[in-house]
Homo-oligomer: 564 residues x 2
């Protein structure tokens, strides 16, 4: 039956777009997040030739690219995008940047004018390649219809690396509409290698040396197999485990090893790393400051600490960890696992911490959290550490406007799992159009907006960069999102998402439980005070300790370090 | 007094950001449209050192860049942007593309990490230059504090061309925060040259030859001096005048020469150009098809037509036209001027044409129209031809999502003029965040949303690109914006703009008059049927004739040409 069907299909004459579509599907790419234009109309028409291809329309390209990122993080395979020439790619660039930094596979298809049309410099003509190079190490233009399918198959393979990457295929309209397309067979990406015996020996010596050693896990090492293997090493040797600051996907909660993340603030990260003799990297890079600050170090590894790389992002992180476990004889070690331990249900007035607490209290089993809660989410990790097992997807490239689109992609990749998007007000507004796609596709996403009416992070950054004398009125207005206040209930309803604003923790919990129980998208707006409002930098460690994000000894150490 | 103040100011020690700010203001750049981040905090702090600098916050970078474009079109001088690293530039790229195509001056300031921080490949590190090259012929990175002010002065000059352009200055954080900044004196951009005597002689022969000749005006030639000069040539010689399809800024209405625009659809533009022996370009390019279509020509100038360039975009278009007028002795010719002739007030159910008619009926004196009404605005030019004098700003680069931001910039440039943004539903959603800035700044913008619940233009483009057998369900869903319907009243109110939906022409007119009379922003949503809904391509010329966009003989000619 399948053979007959395929034979029949292959006999049909195809244009380039149809051959591309078949090649995508045969290569396992079954979702396309799109915002097409005229030059992509043959691609659009070809959607109906492939029952396996799901096309998800976005009203803005940043939604499409962010959704492709979120999809791949959960599905473990790429989706395609469909963007309209250079400006469409520009609109999608910020979330492709996040995908690039997260090493997420994306087959990024950018339509272009017919090749012969470029010479006329029509309105939408621009240099697509120059933009694409910013995010896409693999970049190809299909010059002819005959090239399209082979280029597509190679793009699908290239996107999967290792490591995963954005692979951009520029598709001229005439290559797309031309006759004589032939689908191409899938190309298998190379398998990532396990660390060499020498590397494993070196790391084994470091973890058994009895010195102060930490293993920093990132990338694929933050899923259960990597966490368990690393926790066995920790149980056998006493080394400390850290996770990178912004994991692409981290599995956590009850039944899994708990792992402390390196803090966003360099002042705190430095304390976490203080005194280390060895730092072992597993699909992670040595910690650096997110931004540069006058008079402060960018590279956060302490002087005298030896850095070992067990597995680069191109290596087999799990295989390498397993080899380390075997080498040190830790196979029988019992890793420390997190028990189920939800926080109590918060009551009374909302604060950012109480929103995080409420999430920890009611998070359903097997949820996916898209976390772009920024300063308001500072206690999220602590409040959800003992929640039922879940995945967290974070802001891998620092370009805000990722959380809502990533939630869309994750929900499409896992229609049977509840998705919770925790979203700051400022970040939400870059890609607020994602709500419409969630409504159109009736995705099971609960969006919680933590609205503190400011770019709160910038209030603290203004102090950190050493602006003299405090900001003036015009500077402060650049960080302030009040006047007018954003009404996210109206915005959500305007795009077809049932939306509600809550004023108390009790209301929040009731709405969370309702949203998790009902299918389809929901939005819950929480007005919360700014975590840092009224605080000066010097007070931060106390505030953070009080908020439970770091253990008290660490907060004391920070205090000693920062205010000797 | 001024001298004393300047002396005092110069004695103050400055950092790079403060020197930059002073240099901008001294160069006449007095508005900055911004969406800053940590690496821009010293720039933000420096805002308070310059009382003449107005900082306008956008929630999304595409609003900032589009507003800078709209500002410059009306102010006749550049504004600055302030964007946050490569992803922020990406978000702003589409509207910078539109500014580039419109030859609009923009001083595009992109913050970056401190120079020494780049090596650590932190989350937001990316290759900013490669993105900027897509839109910015002038591109410079200020490596040190000492360079910042000189680079800024040169960027301000470069942006003004001729022709106007996007000039991108990359500002590393350490150049910004470093001490020892010194403001730089303004740099005067070169004056554009008038056409040579040879060129003027050649054009003079063409317009007096008695053959079929048209003058195509674009760029700066579409303001009153250029229109009047060209209309004198037409009055003296009988040549036909055309305007480019997407003018950056065109002055029109009662008291000015009326000029027919080259149609967007190549099928119609070809008819407009049929039979020409000479085409004279004045700050315009020879017409080409917006997109390529299978089997159709991209270059629309008829075979055998001689193209003359009186003034390139780098030349003095007005001076060259004046020289032509003098050469042919047309100085005393009486140009045909448009009398005041408003359409009647429409009544009953809304259609796209009736919305355009209502605009023609009630448009206030001296208005600015930001036109991104797409298919729904097909009769706008005809319905407003005899309205009181006004400016129209159009989609110069074809990248939708320009209209609302351009309206923001125009309103800031001309606070005493009413601004009308005519906006299609699909286009509005790319940069809907512009409404928040309009509300925050209490700009006098009346936004009319023409909501036909579809990417209507793509329905016709699907036919034009020759998709076989008609689109399937999945293809059609990619063009359809219903399910869920966008509620622009909710979206506007969610961002602080008083918003209303109207169902009849009477309601529309009442709300337009109220909005024009009251200060501050207003939004009026009009549900309209798709202009092309239910029409096949073959019916278009009839539809267009009926809608009054082209004179009937032209529609007959189109019919003969398309269906011989």
């Amino acid at each position: 039956m399948a053979v007959t069907e395929q034979t029949t299909r292959e006999k049909t004459a195809m244009n380039g777009a149809q051959a591309l579509m078949r090649t995508l599907v045969d290569g396992g790419v079954e979702v396309c997040f799109s915002n097409p234009g005229t030059s992509e109309m043959h691609f659009v028409a070809a959607l109906d030739d492939e029952p396996k291809m799901r096309a998800v329309l976005a009203l803005f390209e940043g939604v499409a690219t962010g959704a492709a990122d979120g999809y791949a993080r959960i599905a473990g395979k790429p989706a395609a995008t469909l963007l309209h020439l250079g400006p469409g790619l520009g609109n999608g660039l910020a979330n492709l940047h996040n995908a690039r930094k997260g090493k997420v596979p994306v087959v990024n298809i950018v339509g272009d004018h017919a090749g012969y049309h470029a010479q006329y410099d029509a309105q939408l003509q621009s240099d697509i390649e120059t933009v694409a190079r910013n995010v896409s190490p693999w970049l190809r233009r299909s010059e002819t219809t005959a090239d399209v399918a082979r280029d597509t198959a190679e793009a699908v393979a290239a996107s999967q690396g290792p490591p995963g990457q954005v692979a951009t295929l520029i598709l001229p309209a005439d290559a797309s509409w031309g006759d004589g397309g032939q689908p191409a067979a899938p190309v298998t990406p190379p398998a990532p290698p396990v660390a060499s015996a020498d590397v494993i020996d070196g790391v084994a010596r470091a973890v058994r040396a009895g010195e102060r050693t930490a293993i920093l896990l990132g990338g694929r090492a933050l899923r259960e197999p990597g966490l368990v293997a690393a926790a066995k090493v920790a149980a056998a040797t006493g080394v400390k485990l850290y996770a990178e600051t912004f994991p692409t996907r981290i599995e956590r909660g009850a039944g899994l090893p708990t792992i402390e993340r390196i803090a966003y603030l360099a002042e705190l990260a430095s304390v976490q790393l203080t005194g280390l003799d060895h730092l072992v990297l597993v699909d992670a890079k040595a910690p650096v400051s997110f931004f540069a600050y006058p008079g402060k170090k960018s590279y956060l590894v302490p002087d005298g600490c030896t850095v070992h790389e067990l597995a680069s992002p191109s290596d087999d992180a799990i295989g390498s960890l397993d080899a380390l476990v075997e080498k040190i004889g830790a196979g029988g070690a019992g890793p420390a696992l997190q028990p189920l331990a939800r926080p109590e249900r918060p009551t009374g007035e909302l604060t950012a911490d109480k929103v995080c607490q409420a999430v920890g209290a009611v998070l359903p089993e097997n949820a996916i959290i898209s976390d772009e809660s920024q300063t308001s989410g500072v206690t999220l990790a602590a409040q959800t550490a003992g929640a039922p097992r879940h995945d967290v997807l974070t802001l891998t490239g620092g370009s805000i406007g990722q959380g809502l689109p990533v939630a869309v992609g994750a929900a499409i990749a896992a229609p049977d799992r509840p998705v919770l998007a925790l979203e700051a007000d400022g970040s939400a507004m870059y890609t607020i159009q994602a709500l419409w796609t969630a409504a159109r596709e009736q995705l099971d996403i609960t969006t919680v907006i933590l609205n503190n009416s400011s770019y709160s992070i910038l209030n603290i950054e203004l102090q950190r960069v050493g602006v003299q004398g405090g900001p003036g009125e015009k500077a402060k207005s650049q960080l302030d999102l009040a006047g007018p206040d954003l009404d996210f209930v109206a915005l959500g309803q305007g795009m077809g998402v049932p939306s509600v604003r809550v004023e108390t923790c009790e209301q929040l919990i009731a709405e969370l439980e309702r949203a998790f129980a009902e299918p389809g998208p929901h939005l819950i707006e929480c007005g919360v005070p700014s975590v840092y409002s009224g605080l000066r930098l010097k007070a931060m460690p106390y505030a953070l300790r009080a908020l439970g994000s770091l253990p008290t000894p660490v907060a004391r150490a920070i205090k000693r370090k920062m205010y000797p």
